[in-house]
Symmetry: C2
Subunit: 300 residues, 2 copies
């Protein structure tokens, strides 16, 4: 799975950073989380194809999280897209997207399907799911957990051999089917380990740190609101945001594999101070720049 940080800034773009948008490439599809103004230009600069984006998940309807949608839709239309695009968001999303499509003249040859997701609602795909998570911000806001579906357990050829299974039947067992060796039924669990969890990415911005982190437990990567430094904690929390240190505390609590800080305030032209504050709590933290890419690999 590949995570492409198209925009990493918060609230207001700077010459160095767009506001937020993160693309996740999974199973030959791209899922987009948020879509900042200028997102289409960032897509052009990246390895992401407009045509592979099938689903967009908007966290909330503050401008820095969705204002790139109309331009991206128009460019998709000009590129001849016919496949529908699904846009998900928190309460109110359907109405906002409808409004957006009535602002100006569009000539799209594809359907835009908007849907509100309540926390806990899950969008199912063949090989992954995206679950809406309740965040704590000034307006209705969803975080999202993208999770690959559980993969079959590891196959142990030495066990199969011991049971006398001919090699040509290994695939059948790996696909979860049973078979017989003489009179004895061989079931997959006799030659395979327990099912393995898929890679998961939790995208959680904008939010104070006091959201229910249950759904993000053990996620491979947590991408979290880190608007500023700890000295500004009270102010940032009042405005519905977290500090970098608070993001790290959440990562620790979730037992995340890695933490990506995101949504830095425009006051930070340079974010190494935020990174340091977070790493004191959670070592495996990084501070992506626009267009940075992270590969997440299966470890078992």
């Amino acid at each position: 799975m590949e995570v492409i940080f198209l925009g990493t800034g918060g609230t207001v773009p700077t010459p160095e950073r767009n506001t937020v948008a993160v693309a996740v490439r999974v199973d030959n599809e791209v899922v987009l989380f948020d879509c900042c103004e200028g997102c289409q230009k960032q897509i052009m600069r990246s390895t992401v194809s407009f045509m592979k984006i099938k689903k967009v998940f908007i966290t909330h309807f503050h401008g820095d999280h969705f204002l790139g949608l109309p331009g991206m839709l128009q460019t998709m239309g000009l590129l001849g897209r016919t496949a529908p695009l699904e846009i998900y968001g928190p309460e109110g999303a359907e109405g906002f997207i409808e409004n957006l499509l009535e602002t100006g003249y569009y000539g799209l040859d594809f359907d835009v399907r908007a849907r509100d997701l309540k926390p806990g609602n899950t969008v199912q795909e063949a090989k992954f799911t995206v679950e809406a998570i309740s965040l704590n911000h000034l307006v209705p806001t969803n975080g999202y957990l993208l999770r690959e579906k559980t993969r079959p357990g590891r196959f142990y050829p030495e066990k199969a051999e011991e049971l006398g299974v001919p090699k040509r039947f290994y695939g059948k067992l790996q696909r979860g089917e049973c078979m017989k060796v003489g009179e004895r039924e061989i079931t997959p669990d006799m030659v395979m380990g327990p099912p393995r969890r898929g890679i998961s990415v939790a995208y959680c911005t904008d939010t104070t740190p006091d959201w229910d982190t249950g759904a993000a437990k053990d996620c491979s990567l947590l991408i979290h609101d880190a608007t500023g430094c700890d000295a500004l904690k009270e102010k940032l929390n009042t405005f519905g945001h977290s500090t970098a240190r608070q993001a790290a505390e959440i990562a620790k609590k979730c037992n995340a594999g890695k933490l990506a800080l995101i949504h830095y305030s425009q006051r930070y032209r340079e974010v190494s101070g935020l990174l340091e504050e977070a790493r004191v709590i959670f070592q495996n933290t990084f501070a992506p720049r626009d267009l940075d890419t992270v590969m997440l690999k299966h470890e078992d």
Copy 2:
């Protein structure tokens, strides 16, 4: 007067060009013509202050001409703006702007005043006017002519001296007041030349070349749709655009001082070919890049 090309591309941004937005600095105010996606970032990169922008004139409601508005409004709000912003556009503008302000959560402490302008309608400022011009595009579209108000004629001190006017009264005559030298009334026209036309900029995109160019006659600078090369003329005209050569023909017809080509199709990463085609017809043509600035000076 200073003209700052914030965006110069057409329809779809490219890594090199934003779509269209042009700022004109006049009389300590900035007038913005069109407001492409990413316009706020271009403003940050330029010498333009968000707070000096008092009026925005949108040519039409295709995305490449207005999608930067919501982000710019929000950033103005975050910067603490309280002065109202006036947004003008063709038929439908009021409704579109109202819709736009209902898409997402805004928290602006300033008024956004939208108004439809019919061709011929003129917005008056102390030292300049902006007149809407009828263009010929696929949807209702205005061009705009920004014109400094007429300046008083040149003052000839030698004439004043000949008439025996004491030097301390020169200012009075220059301000348009009369005075007496003995019994003789001295009127301004006795010591001054005819009123001088102000500098004017005509902003005309998107359009086919067959628009009524009367209002742009003798403009100092014509900024015109030059979507592509002459070989594509029929196709471009069908889609409501002009070629660079047609833009040059309009500049010649208007007796413009200079011509700026704008709104190049994204197929032209390099526009010297378009520039050549235009210069055959109208020598004083240039092809601005994003953030290029042109000074227009009084010549008399």
